[in-house]
Symmetry: C2
Subunit: 506 residues, 2 copies
């Protein structure tokens, strides 16, 4: 290859990204369309393609061009956007390079197998079956942290691959703050004398009508259906082949429109970020999302701060009532809002409301950090889980299926991933507060259905920057403050104080 070294690097990165995008097409098809018997062959094809991508990534500096570019950046000969590309590419390349090929293969084989065993163990409520795998995965992730290197805690090295630049110490501090607010706040809500009857939003609505309504909401948020699709799958997800081809999935329940709606709004939030990334930088870090936490902040901001807000439903509830008189016509707005936002401790994270959700995350975070730091033995995870669920959420965990075995993450080797879900909620509240400060009549506009207002704010302040800034820096730049939990707790206090008349009890 010839040309300016930075241009050569960009072209290499694009080549790799197009192959990764091919890989994403296979993943999407697998979840959405693949016939049952196609599974084995697909696993082989996906593995083969992943190998190609991995090989190209680790070979990216074979001619030392990246190393030279990195030196140019250090010598300030290369600045601005190009420097970001080099720095970010170097960061992932360096991490990749530190891991021996044998280690990577072993981990990948282990987690592939562990996910099958986990699925079986969850089905049979048999933690003992999964334990040897969890033990081995924790060992290997500790080893990974050693290879990668860290300052304070081995957990730093793991968290860094999902939320670059955030230390375990800072994450802990934020989540501690959050917990110390949430636990008493939840008790306060639970003792409020407000009756909620979720059955009132349940009624059979044909699938085709549910799909149509979900698509309308998604389109109203600004999802470009010419640059994406919405389909069905067992677990909702968003996947991106390119900013011009972003796919979301939703799942449906025949008798519960709200079940699909929440997940559609959530996935559309992710998708707007992906469609909003600058196409001209596709393939380079400038065309990529900041971090998992920032990605989750987009989905959660739409799902909760907007999608469960009074303003949003002032506009959409009359439409919903008109479209689906059964069950909504006879249901008053205030009662609908209460059902939509009901706070109720439950066993399953993915079904949790926005008050209890973060407590689910904190349970996982404390356990996985403990295991990685050698302070919790994997064998004790179920017991610790039960204690913490009791302590933070006030509920008993009747089985490991509904407890420690419920999420796929650990079996897949994703230790360090969970906190990004909570970070997403904190960031979302912080973005939203900044947005409100800048656009004083924001909620009035939303109540008029002008969803382009928040969308364009997010596009300008978040999406278009790609990976130019780390999460903390971007938040600081846009909101004037580093990430903190206060915006989120203030948001909860205000919203749920009103919904549950918490003030009135005093």
């Amino acid at each position: 290859m010839k040309g300016k070294p930075i241009e050569v690097l960009k072209e290499r990165l694009r080549e790799i990204s197009y192959l990764a995008s091919a890989s994403a097409v296979l993943g999407w098809d697998q979840e959405v369309h693949m016939p049952a018997k196609g599974a084995d062959a697909r696993a082989r094809a996906s593995a083969q393609l992943s190998n190609v991508v991995h090989d190209k990534l680790v070979a990216i500096d074979d001619d030392k061009a990246l190393t030279r570019l990195k030196k140019d950046v250090e010598a300030k000969k290369l600045r601005g956007k190009d420097a970001v590309i080099v720095e970010e590419t170097w960061r992932s390349f360096e991490r990749e390079k530190k891991l021996p090929a044998d280690f990577v293969r072993e981990l990948s084989e282990l987690t592939a197998k562990a996910q099958h065993v986990w699925a079986e163990a969850r089905k049979k409520d048999d933690f003992g079956m999964f334990l040897p795998y969890l033990r081995r995965i924790v060992e290997m992730k500790r080893k990974e942290a050693k290879y990668v290197g860290y300052k304070d805690s081995p957990y730093d090295a793991l968290l860094d691959s999902y939320e670059p630049g955030l230390s375990a110490k800072d994450a802990s501090a934020m989540l501690e703050d959050l917990k110390s607010f949430l636990v008493p706040f939840l008790k306060e809500i639970r003792s409020a004398k407000v009756k909620v009857d979720p059955k009132k939003t349940k009624a059979r609505i044909p699938l085709s009508e549910q799909i149509a309504f979900n698509k309308e909401i998604s389109a109203a948020m600004g999802f470009d259906f010419e640059a994406g699709r919405m389909d069905q799958s067992t677990h909702p997800f968003t996947t991106t082949f390119h900013p011009q081809d972003v796919r979301i999935t939703t799942r449906f329940r025949e008798d519960d429109l709200l079940y699909s709606l929440g997940s559609t709004i959530h996935e559309t939030g992710h998708a707007l970020y992906e469609q909003g990334l600058p196409s001209e930088h596709f393939g380079t870090p400038l065309g990529e999302a900041v971090s998992l936490g920032v990605h989750e902040s987009q989905s959660r901001l739409w799902e909760n701060n907007i999608g469960k807000s009074e303003a949003f439903w002032r506009h959409f509830y009359p439409k919903l009532q008109k479209r689906f008189p059964k069950p909504f016509k006879a249901l008053p707005f205030e009662e609908f809002m209460l059902i939509l936002n009901e706070v109720k401790p439950s066993l399953i994270r993915t079904e949790a409301d926005e008050v209890t959700y973060n407590l689910h995350i904190i349970v996982r975070f404390e356990i996985e950090k403990g295991m990685i730091e050698g302070k919790i033995d994997p064998e004790d995870a179920p017991a610790v889980w039960r204690e913490k669920m009791k302590e933070y959420l006030g509920i008993e965990v009747p089985s490991n299926t509904l407890g420690v075995l419920q999420d796929v993450h650990w079996s897949a080797g994703y230790l360090g991933y969970f906190p990004t879900y909570a970070l997403g909620n904190l960031y979302a509240a912080q973005w939203y507060a900044a947005m409100e400060a800048e656009i004083p009549d924001l909620n009035k506009k939303i109540a008029k259905g002008e969803l382009s207002v928040p969308r364009e704010w997010l596009r300008k302040n978040v999406h278009l920057h790609g990976k130019t800034y780390k999460a903390a820096d971007l938040l600081k730049k846009v909101t004037g403050e580093k990430p903190i939990s206060r915006y989120f707790t203030e948001y909860l206090k205000k919203k749920y104080g009103k919904l549950y008349s918490l003030g009135s009890k005093k």
Copy 2:
């Protein structure tokens, strides 16, 4: 890599095949699901993946392991199935190797551009716009033939990549025979006093019901929907990721169920071949189809020899009438059969009946062979086309859009491909005759809906052999005779003699 050299080769071939299969997933998604704006990124991703596959293929003998295996085969140290794998791999590798990398890239860039220009030229009925591209493609295909090498005609080298082992001379002889029968036979049919009114099968049937019926027919033929899917696309096609994941597409017209049915049966014929290839040999030539002609013989046998036969409809017509009283209840069986098999010269190949279809092919074959042998100047192609259509089919061609510009093949560089369509029809009739000879009550069984009888015969005699035999050898082995046109002409005489009462005129 280590292990027995032949096993190492097989593993390499499988790796390449899984990547090619990934590539096929991208192609399928592109036709069936891709949103409009995703096209550019998809083109890049597909090109990137094709490059990877091509690079791996040309590198397959870098360590000379294939060369050594080839010598083992020549020295009869390696025999049987393993020898077939080596021979067939060598054949495609050698062809690939003879073409300089620059030439391959130039041709691929030329045809990518030519296909766009052709689409535009067809829309505008402007052959002049396409001519420079056609000229350049013909030049390059002549050059390709020189690189590859040939005995009698440069056309040999092109035909060989679609129908391995068949010479231009043998193909010409078969098609000449066919033409000398078809031209007068068509005149005879056209002068028959039989009235056909295709409007009688037209009526609006909701898409969902059409899809359901098409799927039932496909399932009755033996298409395994757990190892495949049926979807919609503009142009029907079959694509295979693995024998356990074969996908077909159909297109529909609201007022014409038969329009979709023919193409569903055709594609299911292809799909049964793909699902019937031995999975255990996936990736190696033993798990691949013999040739395009043999592939087409499977689709055409099902579409025409079975799917337009009296026996087939004795079973399915009552179902059709019951399911769709409008338009079929009042339409007598004999009249339905006549509409289904109406012979009517027309301009467009893909809509032609089974008598005129091969004349369309012969027109293309004679012109492309003439161009490749330097006997027809590409500039004269439209005029020659018009003359031949008049002479063979008796019709005037009013525009190049409906004439020489109608098919994508030449713009894509597929010269040598067309004859395989006609070969498919000849082979199909030859298989069917052998099947009838072996199973005397074949048509009775089909009339009882026992479609597993022809399917299992094809599976045993054709599908399971993979590429073990060349087309001519397989036909000889199974039918006792090399490929000839007589079975097909006899079949037409018998079937259309009856339908059009040709005997009674004499």
